[in-house]
């Protein structure tokens, strides 16, 4: 990988900026021309974009393929739950409460005598929608605002960071009770909106920190010296180098959002019956952990599988975006 010799060296701790600045502008310029390595040069001499390169890498990555299969499966049962589960998730018979597996109920019954298998399958739609959309919303809003604050610094940073501080200070319980109690619609949208509103500061701060680090790199200085525009620098030079922590936090946050939906339901301001979700089931089954652990196990397991798939996906995407690995 001939590219690597141009990879700007990060400052060795304690030596200050000196060594790093030794890198000549000409070398940085080379880097600027060939971000994708030798194969990256397209027919017209136009460099193939980092993103298409990443996609090429991804398709060959087994980790990505496995996670993609799991995610596709989740999407499938979200769209068409009756394909693999018969009966209604709302049909509950108290006489069967806390019973173990039986015919038609491979996962047993919960505290209300509802079929855990059916509910877990039907819960996927709500939970995956909430998790994915909230994460996307938080990820996009947080990383954009954080990146802007970190890149431009100064007044921008001050304003955005202080807004972040204010949002950080709102307790989730209070925010939920206030903002969601006025909502009468029993759909996932208010819940997702709430999570984005209160969740973006976390990603925002992470993204800001990463951008502040990345923008010190010599290739950024070099690109700027060559007259590259701010948007080009942010998107082409800083974003790929700053995105890793954002992906890590976002993929874990996906799981916590699915769980947060349960907390909101528990507080009486989230999704209300007849909605079905893993979160609702997990929070309902938690007190019965001693007597009916199976009712907790399956929705939690489904949540774990989903988070695993997205963590793996995040890992694969991060690897694909990392030019140093190429």
């Amino acid at each position: 990988m001939p590219d690597q010799q141009y990879e700007p060296e990060r400052a060795i701790a304690g030596t200050g900026m000196g060594g790093a600045m030794d890198l000549g502008a000409s070398e940085a310029a080379t880097l600027e021309r060939t971000p994708g390595g030798p194969e990256g040069t397209g027919p017209a001499g136009k460099p193939r974009s980092l993103w298409s390169d990443a996609w090429r890498d991804l398709r060959r990555n087994p980790v990505f393929l496995v996670s993609a299969v799991v995610i596709l499966f989740l999407v499938f049962i979200s769209v068409w739950p009756s394909a693999i589960a018969s009966g209604s998730p709302l049909k509950c018979d108290l006489a069967k409460a806390q019973d173990g597996p039986g015919p038609g109920a491979p996962f047993g019954y919960d505290g209300q005598g509802c079929n855990v298998y059916t509910r877990t399958v039907y819960g996927a739609r709500t939970s995956v929608t909430v998790g994915v959309l909230a994460t996307l919303g938080v990820g996009v809003l947080g990383s954009v605002l954080g990146a802007l604050a970190g890149y431009f610094g100064g007044v921008w940073d001050s304003i955005l960071s202080r807004i972040t501080d204010i949002f950080f200070a709102i307790p989730v319980v209070l925010g939920g009770l206030v903002l969601l109690s006025v909502v009468t619609s029993n759909t996932v949208w208010p819940v997702i909106g709430f999570m984005v509103l209160l969740g973006w500061p976390q990603i925002g701060r992470i993204s800001r920190g990463s951008v502040i680090t990345a923008k010190q790199n010599d290739y950024v200085q070099a690109a700027r010296a060559l007259g590259a525009s701010d948007s080009r620098i942010l998107l082409r030079h800083i974003a790929p180098n700053a995105v890793a922590p954002v992906i890590v936090v976002a993929t874990i946050a996906l799981g916590t959002y699915i769980a947060l939906e349960a907390t909101l339901s528990y507080l009486g301001v989230g999704l209300k019956p007849p909605s079905v979700s893993w979160g609702i089931d997990i929070s309902a089954a938690s007190p019965y952990i001693r007597n009916a652990p199976h009712a907790l196990l399956w929705p939690s397991g489904a949540l774990a599988l989903t988070v695993l798939a997205f963590i793996m996906l995040g890992d694969a995407v991060r690897d694909a975006l990392d030019p140093k690995l190429r």
Binding site: K91, D93, L94, Q112, P273, P274, P287, R290
Partner: protein, 539 residues
């Protein structure tokens, strides 16, 4: 490098800490003859007329004794500080206070101790949340007008006629008035309460078998046996330490671990294990609490003859037995009337008064609901507050029962409200569109208390604004009746009016439950689901 050194130091601290806890420490608060008991942070200052929930009530029950006391087992009101309460017309009462009673600070309990306390409790300016208890006394409308400022400081119906006697004049006939006097709001108060109120609140002084030794608000209260207590119900232990728990489950766990002696609210999710966990050291006794579903009669949809049929049908669609056994594990009993078993037959409890309307009969239920025109609005939303208790569990179970009866998954859904305050707000502003949770804990063991505040036109807890002139007339007549048996008969007739209209669907009678450590004996709960602390023996 500094960060790493710091981390290493931290690891050392944690390891040391683990070793230290390994030794284990138990008790600490207890001590010889003193038991520890779970407690909740009282919501209001601990004044007798300002305490309307059971946690503050626990303390008042230990440090105060009133004119009457309810027998911890039968709930019957007996004279305690009262030597006699006489009346000729059910309206004018002459009360004579027994000699020999003092507060734990040495001050004598006199007629004035009562009159001053009641005047304080009734006065609008003192913000006492139980002020309405004095509403039967003449002059209440002057001391506590519905709006505007008060025009008198004291109730004109109260007069001290001697060091030990005073008279009470009521604004209407109320034959069972003497039996209400065991309620904590009617407790006597020492002069110190009025002269140095702030100090009294920090460390309340009363005339009960215990005195408060120390009180750390929000975490613990140490009560010690008052050696000079003149009454017959002296404390059988050296004292009680009440420890505030944020969660009853934690208190229960602490009892299992031997860190706590008594938990008086066993969480329903632990009930399945409680017998084996505690090896039989578990009590489950009826308390004067009835859970019902109330309806909004200000919504015209619910105030029709058809809706009466629908309500009766809904009542028959609820499998009470199954829910009380599965969800509550026998700590609730299916209700068959609108009172409570703690009243006893003589007191007005009449099992089966509800008749077939409280039996589970899916076929008949479905028929009645259809005849009545179906559920008003198409879907039944049972509103409850999500922040206290495990209401979600039983509301979901009730809905599932109704849904199964009607063969429709979405006929009934739970409708949680985030906070109790918001729940009460929505009720107060008449925003309910369907049934809502209504729990009633009796103030005193009288059938009147289960009916009049809840169903009388315009009564304080008639949240659904139900109104029925026949019911009102029967209650008025019952209150004027001097003989208890005759009064009870009239109240039961009024209750039948409630039944025929299915004004509220009775669900179940609630029990009090408690678990305790092996070093305790003679543990019991009174009909108010409060432990009878003075009878508990330690060791």
């Amino acid at each position: 490098m500094r960060g790493i050194a710091h981390a290493r130091w931290a690891a050392g601290v944690i390891a040391a800490g683990l070793l230290a806890t390994g030794c284990g420490d138990s008790g600490g608060f207890g001590g010889a003859g003193v038991l520890t008991s779970s407690w909740g942070d009282p919501q209001n200052p601990l004044e007798p007329a300002n305490t309307n929930e059971v946690q503050g009530g626990k303390v008042l029950d230990m440090i105060f004794r009133g004119l009457k006391k309810y027998d911890p087992r039968t709930g019957k009101a007996q004279n305690w500080l009262a030597a006699s309460i006489d009346t000729g017309d059910s309206r004018n009462f002459t009360i004579k206070v027994k000699d020999g009673w003092t507060f734990s600070n040495g001050e004598k309990v006199t007629a004035r101790s009562f009159v001053d306390a009641w005047n304080y409790g009734a006065s609008l300016r003192n913000n006492q949340k139980n002020a309405y208890f004095f509403a039967y006394i003449d002059g209440y409308d002057k001391v506590h007008p519905d709006s505007g400022t008060q025009t008198a400081d004291t109730l004109s119906g109260l007069r001290v006629t001697g060091p030990d006697t005073f008279t009470v004049r009521l604004n209407q006939k109320f034959s069972s008035f003497p039996d209400t006097l065991g309620y904590a709001a009617f407790a006597p108060l020492p002069r110190a309460f009025f002269t140095d109120h702030a100090a009294w609140l920090k460390k309340p002084v009363g005339n009960g078998p215990y005195r408060i030794e120390s009180y750390t608000r929000g975490s613990a209260m140490n009560l010690r046996k008052w050696a000079g207590y003149p009454g017959p119900d002296k404390a059988q232990n050296a004292g009680v330490t009440l420890l505030v728990y944020t969660d009853s489950n934690t208190a229960y766990t602490d009892v299992l671990a031997g860190n706590l002696d008594l938990v008086d609210d066993v969480p329903s999710t632990q009930l399945k294990n409680v017998e084996t966990d505690l090896n039989g050291r578990y009590i489950n006794t009826p308390a004067g609490i009835l859970q019902t579903l109330a309806f909004p009669y200000y919504d015209p949809k619910w105030d029709t003859p058809g809706a009466t049929k629908v309500r009766t049908g809904l009542s028959m669609a609820i499998n009470r037995r199954q829910i009380t056994e599965t969800i509550f594990r026998g700590t609730r009993t299916p209700a068959t009337d609108w009172t409570s078993p703690v009243l006893g037959a003589a007191g007005g409890y009449k099992p089966g008064l509800c008749g077939h309307a409280c039996d589970y009969d899916p076929a008949q239920a479905k028929k009645l609901i259809q005849e009545g025109g179906g559920i008003p609005g198409g879907q039944l939303k049972i509103t409850y507050n999500a922040d206290t208790g495990s209401h979600k569990q039983w509301v979901d179970a009730v809905c599932n029962s109704i849904n199964n009866t009607l063969g429709n998954d979405k006929a009934c859904v739970g409708n949680p409200v985030g906070t109790f305050a918001d729940f009460r707000n929505q009720i107060g502003q008449h925003k309910m569109t369907g049934p809502f949770r209504a729990g009633w804990q009796m103030d005193y063991p009288l059938i009147q208390n289960f009916l009049q505040p809840l169903y009388y036109t315009g009564a304080s807890s008639n949240d659904g604004k139900w109104s029925n002139s026949r019911f009102d007339r029967l209650v008025d007549r019952a209150n004027a009746e001097t003989g208890q048996a005759a009064a009870v008969r009239l109240f039961q007739q009024a209750e039948e009016v409630v039944r025929d209209n299915m004004a509220a669907i009775p669900l179940w009678y609630q029990n009090g439950s408690a678990g305790y450590a092996s070093r305790l004996s003679h543990v019991a709960l009174n009909p108010f689901s409060v432990p009878v602390y003075n009878e508990i023996r330690v060791g």
